[in-house]
């Protein structure tokens, strides 16, 4: 049984009050959370050190302007944090960060994770007109009513990892009654308990509502199966892949938004991957035509080979694609297959090694000996 701190404010205000408490009591030197942009539209992550600056903070805002796992990896790339910082992030962002740390792309030291049971977020394009308040209140109503929100991104609609595993504190959002009057923080670790010590609110022993969450999960599983099956049908074979990626403009926005793709210089943007004059001549002779630039599918299948084992299904790739290709659905689907083959869940255990970096002497014995 975990300890739960129940703050008598709405879930947003309660969490913000908690962050304020952390800063004021100097339990942390800063918090990273979503904050409305000052002087312009939009919302982004911010590292906040002064309590007054929490004014525009919207920790549970239903948008993911970037996968914060990527941001936190960047923050700690050159070294760990020297003082504790509390980070409010979604389950897929935390999983991505763990996958990055396994690749030596950051450090978890001195980071305290506040996550949530995540109902999903809206696609970025819904925020383009700038009316964030309307979005926030619409989201609140939908989550409060317990419904499965129809407008959330496809990646979210098919996500079954909405309960974070490695968070120190979990804000209970899904299937939680009374979000407009109470904020329930599940203290999931010793660090979490220490952080909450002294914060005003009721403490009691309670776990997350496992039955409701299981029910929620069933719905998500069904949606996931349906989405993946449809994608499977659509992308069968080379014709299917060309149909999906025909309009791809090779901008690599998907790879750059992906938290797992961390390479300074992506192989597919490096010299060895550039076409030489002769390669075009060969294609012209054989097929009568050649697409320019070459390597559209090579990029996607190659990127799958590189990162599918760690794909956390966050869907950033789809949010940034200029031609609306459902990259994320395809990648999540292949990712799931690969992860099943290696019995691996990305971002689940920090000390579980990457399946492509290790091997067993006895495994896949049926291969190669035929």
């Amino acid at each position: 049984m975990a300890q739960v701190l129940k703050i008598n404010k709405s879930v947003d205000q309660g969490l913000t009050a908690f962050l304020e408490f952390l800063l004021k009591e100097k339990k942390v030197s800063g918090v990273v959370t979503l904050k409305k942009n000052r002087g312009g539209p939009g919302i982004s992550y911010a590292l906040i050190t002064r309590p007054e600056e929490l004014d525009g903070a919207r920790p549970l805002f239903p948008l993911m302007p970037a996968n914060s796992g990527k941001i936190l990896s960047r923050l700690t790339l050159r070294g760990p944090l020297k003082d504790p910082i509390a980070v409010v992030l979604k389950p897929c962002e935390l999983r991505a960060l763990i996958e990055l740390v396994k690749r030596q792309q950051g450090s978890l030291e001195n980071m305290i994770f506040i996550s949530q049971t995540c109902p999903g977020v809206y696609p970025l394009e819904m925020s383009v007109d700038g009316d964030l308040d309307a979005l926030a209140s619409r989201y609140q109503d939908q989550v409060q009513s317990g419904q499965h929100i129809p407008e959330i991104r496809p990646a979210c609609r098919s996500c079954v990892h909405f309960t974070p595993q490695n968070a120190d504190i979990i804000v209970s959002l899904i299937a939680e009654a009374g979000l407009d009057r109470s904020c329930s923080l599940v203290l999931n670790s010793k660090k979490g308990e220490a952080l909450a010590d002294g914060m005003a609110g009721e403490k009691r022993e309670q776990d997350l509502n496992s039955q409701e969450l299981a029910h929620f999960s069933d719905h998500r599983k069904t949606a996931r199966l349906k989405l993946f099956d449809e994608m499977g049908e659509k992308t069968k074979g080379i014709k299917g892949l060309i149909g999906l990626f025909g309009k791809c403009i090779g901008c690599h926005a998907c790879g750059n938004a992906c938290p797992i793709c961390y390479c300074n210089l992506c192989f597919f943007e490096s010299q060895p991957n550039e076409s030489r004059p002769n390669s075009f001549r060969a294609d012209l002779e054989k097929k009568g035509a050649a697409r320019i630039p070459a390597g559209t599918l090579f990029y996607h299948v190659g990127r799958l080979a590189h990162m599918s084992v760690s794909c956390v299904g966050c869907g950033m790739c789809m949010d940034v694609c200029p031609v609306d290709i459902p990259v994320g659905t395809l990648f999540s689907r292949v990712g799931e297959s690969v992860q099943k083959t290696f019995e691996y869940i990305p971002g689940s255990k920090i000390d579980e090694p990457l399946p492509v970096a290790v091997f067993k002497e006895e495994e896949f014995a049926q291969l190669g000996e035929g």
Partner: protein
């Protein structure tokens, strides 16, 4: 009537075992598929999954990865990695219905000239039955 289609097969062979085995097969005049193109690498662990993917997307009808038997790698562990990478490739191709049967993994030691002939011939026959790689004619890859 002989079938017109001769499969284009690319084989990545490790220097110490598979390539030497292939050489032995050649010296002994054993049957080897006529259009198997061999690319020698020092270890099967050198085979980047991207090599295989590139070969397929360029229209190779089949791609083989060949190296030392597990436990016998000249560099101790390379072929264990190769085995995992092959599984990764298989899973990805299977997920995309891109004919995972067009790739193959075979362990062939330096003295197994006969085995080299057998596995390459069998693989080539399987590919011939399958037919040419449909990616060959595609412009928008």
């Amino acid at each position: 009537m002989k079938d017109a289609f001769v499969p284009n097969i690319v084989g990545f062979l490790c220097n110490w075992c598979a390539y030497t085995g292939a050489d032995l097969a050649g010296v002994a005049r054993l049957r080897i598929p006529p259009s198997l193109r061999v690319i020698r690498v020092m270890c099967s662990g050198r085979i980047d999954p991207l090599f295989v993917i590139k070969a397929l997307l360029k229209g190779a009808d089949g791609v083989m990865m060949m190296g030392c038997h597990p436990g016998d790698c000249h560099y101790q562990k390379g072929n264990f990695s190769a085995r995992r990478r092959f599984v990764l490739l298989q899973t990805i191709l299977d997920s995309l219905a891109l004919e995972p049967e067009r790739i193959g993994l075979s362990w062939v030691s330096a003295s197994e000239g006969q085995r080299y002939s057998k596995v390459t011939t069998e693989f080539s026959e399987k590919i011939q039955e399958r037919g040419p790689n449909p990616i060959r004619d595609e412009i928008f890859v």
